[in-house]
Symmetry: C2
Subunit: 199 residues, 2 copies
């Protein structure tokens, strides 16, 4: 905006600094905030500070939590012999939505990526090794993204874990359910044929 | 999320309640807030309350402002003989981006829409009439959207204003600059031919 309503342009700035929010959307959201009731604006504003202040890493699996350990680590019904290793907390949420996986998680907090200067030391790897070392874990599922960094990280961690006597597994590759084969890339299709199962 | 980190799911709710923000985006934004520095989160949080508390309608044109009257109404270099009538403050911002229009604005705060139960009384029409009545205004440009409601509102207000002895004009119809004729609808194309100009 050429003319300058300072509190408004500041709010637009704030929205525009969020990932995936362009200037147009930021403006739309800021104007929407002006139409909120005072209570709604208050709730939105304090939800931000609240989340920011109260949420931190679970001391066991590095998932987000507002307690000492997260609800998954605390849940006595979860299978403590399996750990699913993921890149970040969003992936935990994704696996939880399947409602099928009943084991625990370990959040790495990133992937090994020499290009971005991220080595194994920047990940929560020591924490994973000490969890595996305590004897109750039988299998570790490497559930990092099927990308170059994800593969490299899975390989690296797999090599570290195997000497400890646990099974290390990797997510299955194949065609996504509900997708169109026409648009599947050739590597995925090849993997889908290679790993075919009898009907 | 099945498992429940209350401050996080509350923040996701808040983002998801914004227009055009789905659950996936809301989750992504909420996770992003967790990675902000404390100062960033604070700035975001207070920008919301700040904008909400300090911004209100300009007492003259009903644009948003944090003062008694808005910067446009206050600007002595603007042409006080022309008023551009728009649906809402977002439209003011859009016209200001052209950097060409030098007159004033009047924000209606909506369009006449019997379907949504919005009649002329819910718009800032009395305010417009008293501005036109004070004698300095020579032209009123009806700059509502080229939709059914926008047209109806422009027609209605035009009929009210003409007896007051001001010129009432309407935005030009035609093909948008930079667009592809192939995708223009027939009414727009017809209007573009009808209103053609000599080169």
């Amino acid at each position: 905006m050429k003319y300058n309503v300072l509190p408004l342009s500041r709010l637009i700035e704030q929205f525009a600094s969020l990932p995936g929010i362009g200037r147009k959307t930021a403006q739309r959201l800021a104007f929407y905030v002006l139409t909120m009731s005072k209570e709604q604006a208050q709730a939105f504003s304090s939800a931000i500070m609240d989340a920011h202040e109260k949420i931190h890493y679970c001391s066991v699996c590095r998932n987000y939590t507002d307690k000492e350990t997260c609800e998954i680590c605390d849940d006595p019904s979860r299978d403590r012999s399996v750990i699913c290793v993921v890149e970040d907390a969003k992936d935990v949420a994704a696996f939880e939505r399947t409602r099928e996986y009943r084991g625990l998680y370990h959040v790495l907090g990133g992937l090994i990526s020499p290009m971005d200067g991220i080595g194994p030391d920047q990940l929560f790897l020591k924490e994973l090794l000490s969890r595996v070392n305590d004897g109750t874990v039988k299998e570790v599922i490497m559930a990092t993204n099927p990308t170059i960094e994800g593969e490299a990280t899975a390989m690296y961690i797999g090599k570290l874990l195997k000497p400890l006597g646990v099974t290390v597994s990797r997510l299955a590759y194949g065609v996504p359910v509900g997708s169109d084969l026409e648009y599947a890339d050739e590597v995925t299709l090849y993997k889908a044929i290679e790993n075919r199962s009898t009907m």
